[in-house]
């Protein structure tokens, strides 16, 4: 609304005019802020290559990583040296093949052939069934089944071993039943909450909702002030009546929007492409994500206000980003880290962002449940954003 259209020009200046001044002040505030936000958004999106680089990679990465990021075994190639050639050994191996985790690639005839098969990575494991397999079992002996595993990738090796152990356990029980043994038995019945099939992807995709957007929003904000400094436009901005708070808001809101759009893209892929059921509610998810993106943008702006050149802004952001990714629980559990690093993760916004995304997505957490994540995120945002605003004018020349 245009202030000139106020029908009060002749009234004596009093409380009403003070009110008008206030309204006018507020109007000006938003006019200026809107202008800056518009400009920032245009600057980011006007260029086709930067538009492409903001949205296409997120899509591709979420698809690729969704498939790649798995510790779940499938088709582990293995080889067998069956020295017994018995019905029982065939039954055991059939069990193994039946799990779908293992794929028999070759048979090995002699001990000396084992090493080449593993060395060349044709098989990840070689199972040796001893000559007296059937006889030993019939005699009630404990018969060894030798497994050689390629542990170059230790996770795969452990998981493969665990699966193999489970198959052997089942085989033993079946064996015992068929032999009519009636011994007291103990069985462990496991239920996995939130992810009944215990698929890594269920764990990973929600984490990507937070972490993929982090990468680019952080870089984008880190560059925003640095770019204006390098191009000389920042001075021009500082001589306008825009206040540091307005500049800070104007520079942070467009990246926040972009971050949220990126998160939404990953979210949609998770729900509709990978069909992982969404247990939470959207308001909680977006509240959490907004707090998270704000904290990220705050850090980016501080880096940007400090950096002298775009290159510095970019490299310093990256130096921050790497530990943030590693100490976030994205690919390795935080609880397995040493105490000191677990403490260090407390200032890492990505830790909270991923936690929020996982809890809301998989566990259906409500506001109460994620308060412990929201609070630190808001604290980070409330520290970094005003600090950036202060730095705009006070950075040492």
């Amino acid at each position: 609304m245009n202030p000139r259209e106020f029908p009060l020009p002749d009234e004596p200046r009093g409380r009403s005019s003070a009110l008008i001044d206030h309204l006018e002040g507020a109007r000006l505030f938003f006019v200026r802020l809107a202008a800056l936000i518009r400009k920032e958004a245009l600057a980011i999106l006007a260029d086709r290559s930067s538009r492409t680089i903001l949205f296409l990679p997120v899509l591709m990465q979420s698809l690729l990583f969704g498939y790649a990021a798995t510790y779940d075994l499938s088709h582990v190639p293995y080889a067998v040296m069956d020295q017994s050639h018995s019905a029982l050994s065939v039954r055991l191996l059939a069990h193994l093949d039946g799990t779908g985790f293992f794929r028999r690639v070759t048979d090995v005839e002699a001990e000396s052939d084992i090493a080449p098969v593993i060395d060349s990575q044709r098989a990840l494991m070689v199972i040796t069934v001893p000559r007296r397999f059937e006889q030993g079992l019939a005699a009630g002996e404990s018969v060894p089944l030798q497994v050689i595993l390629d542990a170059r990738n230790s996770t795969t090796a452990s998981t493969a071993l665990a699966h193999l152990a489970a198959v052997v356990g089942d085989f033993n029980q079946e064996l015992a039943r068929s032999q009519g043994a009636r011994q007291p038995a103990l069985s462990l019945e496991t239920r996995a909450w939130f992810n009944p099939n215990r698929e890594t992807r269920w764990n990973f995709m929600p984490a990507l909702i937070a972490s993929l957007s982090m990468l680019q929003t952080l870089l984008l904000t880190a560059l925003s002030v640095a770019r204006e400094r390098e191009q000389g436009t920042f001075d021009q901005l500082l001589v306008t009546p825009l206040s540091p708070v307005q500049i800070m808001l104007g520079k942070s809101l467009p990246p926040v929007m972009i971050g949220l759009i990126q998160s939404t893209l990953v979210f949609l892929i998770t729900v509709y492409w990978f069909q992982i059921p969404f247990a939470g509610t959207l308001p909680v998810l977006y509240a959490g994500l907004t707090a998270f993106v704000l904290a990220g943008v705050g850090i980016g702006l501080v880096v940007s206000a400090l950096a002298a050149t775009m290159q510095q802004a970019m490299l310093y952001t990256f130096v921050l980003l790497m530990p943030m990714m590693l100490l976030s629980g994205l690919s390795t559990p935080i609880s397995s880290m040493p105490e000191i690093l677990q403490t260090a993760t407390l200032i890492n916004p990505l830790r909270y962002g991923i936690d929020v995304a996982r809890r809301v997505y998989l566990e259906g957490a409500g506001f109460g449940d994620i308060a412990g994540d929201l609070l630190p995120l808001l604290v980070i945002a409330l520290l970094t954003l005003p600090m950036a605003a202060w730095l705009f004018r006070h950075r040492l020349a």
């Binding site: 245009n2 006019v31 518009r38 400009k39 021009q236 500082l238 001589v239 009546p241 825009l242 206040s243």
Partner: protein, 651 residues
């Protein structure tokens, strides 16, 4: 090698266009250029922005390939063998990319190594180059920490580490102060003389072109004229006059009046307290009187001005007389600048019909003073008054009345140090409302630092400063709405369109809705930006950029306008246009603070301040400063004042 002729550059039917992806059309940079430049000479390329000077130099340097035609440099086909040309020539691009994270010495060493210069040759060469560029004291400083002009000088020094067979210089003296400019040209002249160097230099300074053996005038990709300065100057003979304004009247006011007589006067500039102008018709003034002797003064009062108009009528076909109000007119010898203005103006008539692509087309707009007048009140009557009498009286009002008011800018004992380097020392001055205040000084004198402090971009180490009653650094944001700022570098958002830039700044200054649209339309019209308003601003030619920057700074009708070297690299046409706007703004009551390296531009100012090494050397009206310098023109005065101060300091 088809011809063994001693030409350093031979262009035959050279054509080059550029595809602008963002603007989605092709612009023509050069059309059918035929040119031959002789060995051992100094040749100047002049022409307005977008004429194709840079493209021509880049083609010669093998950095671009022509769409058609052939180019031979030193007898070598540069299209086929760019490297063998590059081995033998030196080239200084317009924006010399110094490595800012290397020191002055390291930059020099790099280029010396790349050119394979022997150690023993380097020592005397460096000594001379550093002496010439006055960078002796700064050899260990990082190039990024030099002032704009010093960077330019270092760029030139890097180019001159060896004597090449051909030296290509693209606007080498943009942003360089008169002192260093004089030194640079001495060096170039010396190189040509002693080492028979061939030099092709593009320049916006026509006094520089005047020193060259040959001048090539380009416009919109075509060669308009080509020949020694003498023959070009001769074309403007018989049209050039000078006139002294009545006491107390600034020359720029008389100049405006002359320029407004558009049908009669082709050009007018203030010069050494006089106004130098050129008429459209040859002998327009002289024809009025019988005599043509030099220096004989003529009364151009009512009666004989009328007969002068008669002559003008005969030539131009339009009525009118020179608005000189009985002042004495002297004929003067034409300068190259006059020839330049004349030839461009002639071409204007021809090319008006043939349309040029928007982004490279430059001018052809009628003077904008009229449009500007609409924005604020008083002076329009003044100018539209009758031709006589009022010149002497009109003067009385605005400035004198305002001088009673409190100054708009007050600076007292201002000091700024960077570490132990004193950038600005004990500077005191004040600026009145409506004044045009010029800040002059050699490169690194502290002008930009002073400027940044005034605008609140840099805190002062000590002293006080008030702009529009407040210190902008601590003032509330609203106080900044009273100033407009045009930075030295083109500082607008290059990937936004012109309109988007204007919309942003309008919003940043709190304009919205109808009000914002109105102001944007007004400035777009005022500054002749309509043709480019939806194109990306990053692709604008220099003149347009400068206009856009001005337009953005004036959207909110500020009380004070700060301009940091706004005319650096601008051609004479653009500069004239610019100063017409400034004059009109000042008349309307806007205070203007400006820095410049064109000393003739100091003539437009009400008062000027000369700074060197952070100290104030002179402060006063151009007249006062000129008399302080003791010599004829402002250039000479400036050099004299600065050298004297430096001598004093050294002693």
């Amino acid at each position: 090698m088809s011809s063994p002729a001693p030409a350093v550059l031979r262009c035959e039917r050279v054509r080059r266009t550029f595809w602008l992806a963002e603007a989605r059309h092709r612009v023509i940079a050069l059309v059918d250029i035929n040119l031959q430049i002789a060995r051992g000479s100094l040749t100047a390329l002049v022409g307005p922005d977008g004429a194709g000077k840079t493209t021509l130099l880049r083609l010669a340097a093998g950095l671009l390939q022509p769409d058609a035609g052939s180019i031979e440099v030193l007898g070598i086909d540069v299209v086929r063998e760019p490297q063998s040309v590059q081995d033998r020539i030196s080239y200084m691009p317009q924006r010399f990319g110094l490595y800012e994270d290397l020191s002055v010495q390291e930059n020099l060493d790099l280029y010396a190594d790349l050119h394979g210069i022997a150690r023993e040759v380097r020592v005397p060469r460096y000594a001379r180059l550093l002496e010439m560029t006055d960078l002796n004291k700064f050899t260990t400083r990082l190039a990024g920490q030099l002032s704009g002009g010093m960077k330019q000088k270092l760029g030139l020094a890097c180019t001159l580490v060896r004597s090449p067979e051909l030296l290509l210089l693209d606007e080498p003296t943009v942003g360089v102060d008169p002192l260093s400019r004089r030194e640079l040209w001495q060096i170039i002249a010396q190189l040509v003389e002693e080492e028979h160097l061939s030099v092709i230099v593009s320049t916006a300074y026509l006094d520089e072109a005047e020193r060259c053996a040959e001048v090539v005038l380009l416009r919109a990709g075509r060669i308009l004229a080509n020949g020694p300065p003498v023959s070009l100057r001769a074309q403007a003979a018989g049209r050039c006059y000078r006139v002294t304004p009545p006491p107390g009247v600034p020359a720029r006011q008389l100049q405006t009046r002359l320029l407004d007589a558009h049908d009669l006067v082709l050009d007018a500039v203030p010069q050494s307290g006089e106004v130098w102008f050129m008429t459209r018709a040859e002998g327009a003034v002289a024809a009025a009187e019988s005599g043509r002797e030099h220096g004989r003064s003529k009364e151009a009062d009512e009666s004989n001005a009328a007969s002068g108009a008669g002559a003008a009528n005969a030539a131009g076909g339009t009525s009118n007389r020179l608005p000189l109000g009985g002042l004495t007119v002297h004929e003067r010898a034409p300068r190259l600048e006059d020839a330049f203005m004349l030839l461009i103006d002639r071409d204007e008539g021809v090319s008006q019909a043939s349309h040029l692509p928007a982004l490279s087309r430059d001018r052809g707009n009628p003077p904008q003073a009229a449009a500007l007048r609409g924005s604020r009140e008083p002076h329009s009557h003044e100018l539209s008054h009758g031709p006589s009498g009022d010149l002497n009286t009109a003067r009385a009002d605005p400035m004198n009345a305002r001088s009673e008011e409190a100054p708009v800018i007050e600076v007292h004992d201002l000091v700024r140090r960077f570490g132990d380097f004193v950038a600005v020392a004990n500077t005191t001055f004040s600026v009145r409302r409506g004044e045009v205040f010029g800040l002059l000084g050699p490169n690194g004198a502290g002008k930009t630092t002073t400027f940044r402090m005034l605008c609140g971009l840099l805190p002062a180490t000590s002293g006080s400063l008030r702009v529009a009653g407040v210190d902008l650094r601590h003032a509330r944001a609203e106080a900044r709405a009273r100033i407009g700022y045009v930075a030295q570098k083109f500082a607008l958002y290059g990937n936004l369109s012109v309109r988007e830039n204007l919309r942003f700044f309008a919003g940043a200054y709190g304009l919205s809705g109808e009000q914002s649209r109105e102001r944007i339309d007004t400035v777009v019209e005022q500054f002749g930006l309509a043709a480019v308003v939806s194109g990306p601003s990053g692709l604008l030619a220099g003149g347009y950029r400068q206009r856009l920057a001005m337009a953005a700074a004036l959207l909110h009708e500020p009380q004070i306008l700060f301009l940091d070297e706004p005319t650096s690299g601008a051609d004479p046409l653009a500069r004239r246009e610019f100063w017409r706007r400034i004059t009109a703004l000042a008349q309307a009551g806007t205070t203007v603070v400006i820095t410049t390296h064109f000393m003739e531009e100091a003539e437009y100012c009400d008062r000027i301040l000369i700074q060197d090494a952070g100290e104030v050397l002179a402060l006063g009206t151009p007249q006062e400063v000129r008399s302080l310098g003791g010599q004829g023109d402002m250039d000479g005065a400036f050099i004299h004042i600065v050298e004297q101060a430096r001598g004093g300091r050294a002693a």
